[in-house]
Symmetry: none
Subunit: 204 residues, 4 copies
DNA sequence: AATGAATGAGTTTTCATTCAT
DNA sequence: AATGAATGAAAACTCATTCAT
């Protein structure tokens, strides 16, 4: 992020190469974990010599950090749909089934788990994760405030934040449930989730 | 997993030695992660030579597996209190604050995160995690069934399971929240959690 | 050493480019040593791409060799002053203080030390160093012969050579003294040097 | 020297292994220089795997430092003979030929040159070299003071130090002469050296 | 039962050199 | 003439595992 970026005369190409590495890293990290994936493995997947990767990243740690940043940024996408909705509270409630399906897909939780484990030991990654969380948090807060205002449901900021934490905990927790119990019944979980979300979203 | 157990003349002592290693491993894994912890580090913490550890474990992976098995089993302990309560639904509801405090303590989520990340890649660990989950699941189901029966709140098995998944997801998700947002307000989260748990526990 | 010179259409320009590289190399070698300086470092200092340098030098070793040759040749400059003096023996004697000051300046001994170390391992460099020494030697011999002739102090060639070796050893040794003892007293060393040089220069 | 020495249960054996490595390093450093010698080369010469060397040394730099320290310490040996002599000034004077022979032997100057070049860039090595120099310096000063006292030739400390510096410069410079001019005439150099040393040793 | 010396394969990283453009 | 992207071989170093004692 910061660091001594090499001066690439063709920044477009450099960006492509960086992305090429990050895409390869995604596959390798997914398959072997951050520490199980070797530079050799990544370079092979990227179709580029290991040495050359160092023209675009200072170290393997820098690749991990860039990868985490890029993938954390994408988390926000889920909120985009809801954001534009006229009645966001209802929109969230209605989209719960889709959200459950999404959260239970292994493709979507393998890498986050790796990231979280890394964050619990590596302060650089922890900072990235937290920064991304602040962003999502703020967006969700804005959405909920608007939704509650529409329906005449004001709420103390601290209370709203507590409810948000619990809602997010449920979503992120579903990742872990998918890992622990691959034979989860999606319909039943969705029904239960509605039960839990209704008061969190709509109660005074 | 079990595999070719060496023939130890004094099986009692062998068990003690294994435990000595697993206790040391816990400290090291917590500090450095499964892959960051070296056999040298573990052997030092265990007060035992690295070579000797191989008399009790086939490989480092076997230590990880044994460690995971042992530590997954302990998760159940949380349920013990509730199990013996006359009105378990109320007991769960009343203990939510304590549960939140517990789930937010880094001491309690560092290792689980490590385990989950490993499980998402290593099928042996995944199987252990799932087996342990089945056990906790069954115990919780029994508790809830008893509680609901007491209050005359029957429920289809599949529906109950869906609610359980969501409740567990919330708890496990709190681990992740603690990681993402270290400045969480415990009181607000507890209040929100009560809001969400009431229907999950008590609704028809 | 000379080897397969590329055919440069504009030999004048080629020479300039070579010099540009050698000047950059001097800075880099001084800072990092022959083996510590990378081609990237040199190319950056030379304001020329690393690849292009290979149009003027066959290899990094060739740069080192060319560098050594050029810088050894310059050693002779010190003798120029004395050479033109009417009474060279007196001139040498009188300039001792200046010489000491010069020899103790790190700027003047860092690179020679690098060269000598390389020469002790690399026969190509050793040959260059020896060839340059022969030249300086011959010039100094001519100066001393003239000086002694003026004063009526003939001496056998072999004896004169012995004295010259000792005088040069003293000078070159001062390089090493500066390295070993950075708090040298210049005045005291100069006085001692005069004591030692008088018989070497003037005794029958 | 300082650093995290591994705890070796058999210190005798550990010392032997360290020495085994240092002896191998001497050969390799002599042949290829500090930076030209690879750990693989050293490990082969030491008859020990490269990895194992790291049980005795923290890094290659630590090997270089240990090597330098050990070899600097030996420099003092030359003074031992003179130290015990009844008339040390005469002893130094009489042993000049032997000293010249010694200083001109490539075996004795290859490694010092390497050390000096390293010292000019590496502060750790520079410190070792300077510390060793202080020791030799102090010993030589004691010898000279005793010798001059015997002969009734008192001298200001600063003046004596200046003369010592010049004498040592000559000796160390002879290393460089041997490198520059392999066909040196030993007898002639010795004669010249006597001419220069007489006043340095004996003048008031 | 217990040690830790020893190995060798594997790790990340650097760098002289080549070559398409 | 000139670039710098790209390579591949080698560097220092780590570590799970073995085995003589």
């Amino acid at each position: 992020m910061t660091s001594k970026e090499k001066n690439h005369p063709d920044p477009q190409r450099a960006l492509e190469r960086r992305q090429q590495v990050l895409d390869a890293a995604k596959i390798c990290f997914s398959r072997s974990g951050f520490h199980g994936a070797s530079m050799a493995e990544i370079s092979k997947a990227a179709g580029m010599s290991a040495g050359h990767i160092y023209n675009y990243f200072d170290s393997k740690d820098a690749i991990i950090a860039a990868f985490v940043q890029q993938n954390m940024e994408r988390v926000g996408l889920i909120l985009s749909d809801v954001e534009q909705h006229a009645d966001p509270l209802q929109a969230i409630y209605d989209s719960l089934e889709q959200s459950v399906l999404r959260q239970l897909d292994p493709v979507f939780w393998t890498l986050p788990l790796e990231v979280f484990a890394e964050a619990s030991r590596n302060p650089v990654i922890a900072a990235l994760v937290r920064a991304a969380d602040v962003v999502s948090h703020d967006r969700l807060r804005a959405i909920l405030l608007r939704g509650r205002a529409l329906r005449g449901l004001p709420l103390l900021a601290v209370e709203l934040d507590g409810r948000m934490e619990v809602m997010i905990a449920m979503f992120q927790g579903l990742h872990l449930r998918a890992l622990h119990n691959p034979s989860l019944d999606v319909a039943a979980v969705t029904a239960a989730l509605r039960l839990a979300f209704r008061p969190l979203l709509m109660d005074k």
